[in-house]
């Protein structure tokens, strides 16, 4: 049997994507987003995407570039800037469909897909306008003596998941050292295929320490491709490693206030490849020394 080698380039990942696909993106707001992969999508001709996630500049930029048909989200936020400005613009202009969910409900839909179930029951959303604004949600009655009425959260099935990690190897083994793993595991399980970008790619990960292997957030059978992108989460944070780039994020947000602002941002930063991008934001060393945020 041939040795597994899942190493790819970001451009090769994008050749695996198609117009109209449903793409789940890991991370949380401005934290540990696979931004190098997102930038590669921004440089492509892809369109009509449905994006799923706890959104940050990933969703905002793809909306700004006109690549989004629908968003399925728990929020779209930059954390220290509460509302993603390009998301706000897209919503208020009515240019994207929106499936706005409770944050927990989003992970519940991913879990249903991960377990290959049509839905999972929950109380979350009942008694609110959630079912009014998302007209296709249904309830289900408990078949047991309690007879409780519950919301049936449908599975959120993903064509592809895009995730960012600290280390990976060519077999698709990953290590995530972050304080919070977020919901990346459920994106990986809910997807047909999962592509992982990493700060460091090695031939084989072979931890001697059992505890180190606990950072293997999801198993390699879920991973279709690995891409080495040091600094690839920029301008979002990647802890331990680097904080989010508040100055760059503010610059990006400023673009949302200006006519043609996105086009100028794209011209200033996305005209070349990833190494060109990194030069334009100060270089990889500057990214790697961005201080971690203290909350």
């Amino acid at each position: 049997m041939a040795m597994l080698d899942k190493q790819m380039s970001a451009a090769q990942v994008v050749t695996q994507l198609r117009d109209g696909m449903t793409i789940g993106i890991g991370g949380w707001g401005p934290r540990r987003k696979p931004m190098a992969l997102i930038r590669e999508i921004l440089r492509s001709e892809l369109k009509d995407l449905t994006l799923v996630g706890y959104g940050g500049p990933d969703m905002g930029m793809l909306c700004a570039a006109g690549k989004v048909k629908k968003l399925i989200y728990g929020f779209v936020s930059l954390d220290f800037i509460a509302l993603e400005p390009f998301f706000r613009t897209a919503r208020e202009a009515g240019t994207v469909e929106a499936m706005e969910l409770d944050e927990g409900l989003l992970h519940w839909g991913l879990r249903a897909a991960a377990m290959r179930l049509p839905f999972l029951p929950t109380r979350v959303g009942l008694g609110t306008d959630l079912m009014r604004i998302q007209g296709d949600l249904r309830t289900v009655r408990s078949p047991y003596a309690d007879g409780e009425q519950l919301l049936a959260m449908p599975a959120i099935e993903l064509d592809v998941a895009l995730l960012h990690v600290h280390r990976a190897d060519c077999l698709g083994n990953v290590r995530v050292e972050s304080p919070d793993p977020f919901f990346d595991e459920w994106f990986a399980r809910a997807a047909q295929r999962c592509y992982v970008s990493c700060e460091q790619l090695v031939d084989r990960i072979a931890d001697v320490d059992e505890n180190a292997a606990k950072a293997n957030l999801y198993e390699r059978s879920l991973v279709s491709g690995v891409v080495e992108t040091p600094g690839g989460a920029h301008p979002t944070s990647h802890v331990p490693g680097y904080g989010w780039d508040a100055a760059h994020i503010k610059r990006y947000c400023q673009a949302a206030e200006e006519d043609g602002g996105w086009e100028r941002y794209a011209e200033a930063f996305l005209g070349g490849d990833e190494s060109d991008y990194q030069q334009r934001v100060g270089g990889l060393d500057a990214i790697r020394t961005l201080p971690r945020q203290v909350f």
């Binding site: 949380w28 989200y73 728990g74 929020f75 779209v76 936020s77 509460a82 509302l83 998301f87 706000r88 919503r91 208020e92 202009a93 009515g94 929106a98 706005e100 969910l101 409770d102 944050e103 927990g104 409900l105 992970h107 929950t122 109380r123 979350v124 959303g125 009942l126 008694g127 609110t128 306008d129 959630l130 604004i133 309830t139 009655r141 007879g147 409780e148 009425q149 519950l150 304080p179 919070d180 793993p181 977020f182 919901f183 971690r292 203290v294 909350f295």
Partner: protein, 265 residues
């Protein structure tokens, strides 16, 4: 009546801390500077059993200092990543103090958007955790700008968190896990102790009259029979607040940082 040696922000931090009194071992989550200071104050004074986070993914026995430049000196008693927050809150052992944009007479709150959901006049934060929080555990609310735009006459534009409006509860849905404890505003403290959970004013902040609060509210309020003046912060409370917020971020939360005792208009 004390003279005003404390700010309104400090009075509100103390009033907000009271929402967690007698809660025991629950996760206290205060969203925003004043609620976050309040959770730390509650833990360091009357409610040491509370669990609180560092604002990221860990439980800290000692509340973190606001505005800290490094993680130095922090110690962690446990782990609370977002996935565990959902596990915990669906289990019910949490009391959050949240900041809604609109609240109605049934205690339903909105942070999603203003106008029609399909194409909102103003997109706000989205539903975030409001549906799940509100149906699973007790919540309180903090409103720093008490006005008819917040406390609306009719129903809020998007019902993000459950309240006491019977029409919005389908048959067979469990209502016994939810509760709204208090609303702390810049004018008063309210609860839901009236008939059919009607909102009552239970404390008026120093210098405020019930009529002023009613005039700033889009629906009729009740005045609790035992309505009192909101207690002024003690010297001990003020010392803890200064310790939690050495950079005085609290002074920038309310416009013009008004004094705690307001002179009647």
């Amino acid at each position: 009546m004390s003279n005003s040696t404390f700010s309104l922000a400090e009075l509100l931090i103390c009033a907000c801390a009271e929402v967690w009194r007698d809660e025991g071992e629950v996760l206290a989550t205060g969203i925003g500077i004043i609620p976050r200071l309040a959770q730390g104050l509650a833990k360091r004074t009357h409610s040491p059993g509370l669990m609180i986070t560092d604002g990221e993914a860990y439980l800290t026995d000692t509340p973190v200092t606001l505005g800290a430049r490094s993680h130095e000196g922090r110690t962690y008693e446990g782990y609370m990543p977002y996935s565990r927050v959902f596990d915990l809150l669906w289990h019910g052992r949490r009391h959050a103090l949240v900041g809604p944009v609109q609240v109605d007479r049934w205690g339903q709150a909105n942070i999603s958007c203003i106008g029609d959901f399909a194409q909102p006049k103003r997109q706000m934060l989205g539903l975030r955790g409001f549906p799940g929080n509100s149906i699973n555990h007790v919540n309180s609310m903090f409103v720093p700008n008490h006005s008819p735009r917040v406390f609306v006459e009719g129903q809020v534009d998007v019902v993000c968190s459950v309240g006491y409006r019977d029409d919005n509860w389908p048959e067979g849905v469990r209502r016994d896990l939810m509760g709204i404890h208090r609303i702390v505003s810049n004018l008063c403290v309210m609860d839901f102790g009236g008939p059919d959970h009607a909102i009552r004013v239970v404390q008026l902040h120093p210098g405020m009259a019930f009529d002023e609060v009613q005039a700033a509210t889009g629906f009729p309020l009740l005045r609790a029979g035992d309505c009192t003046e909101t207690p002024s912060p003690s010297a001990e409370q003020l010392a803890v607040i200064r310790d939690l917020d050495p950079g005085n971020l609290r002074a920038r939360q309310l416009r013009d940082n008004p004094p705690g005792v307001r002179v009647a208009a």
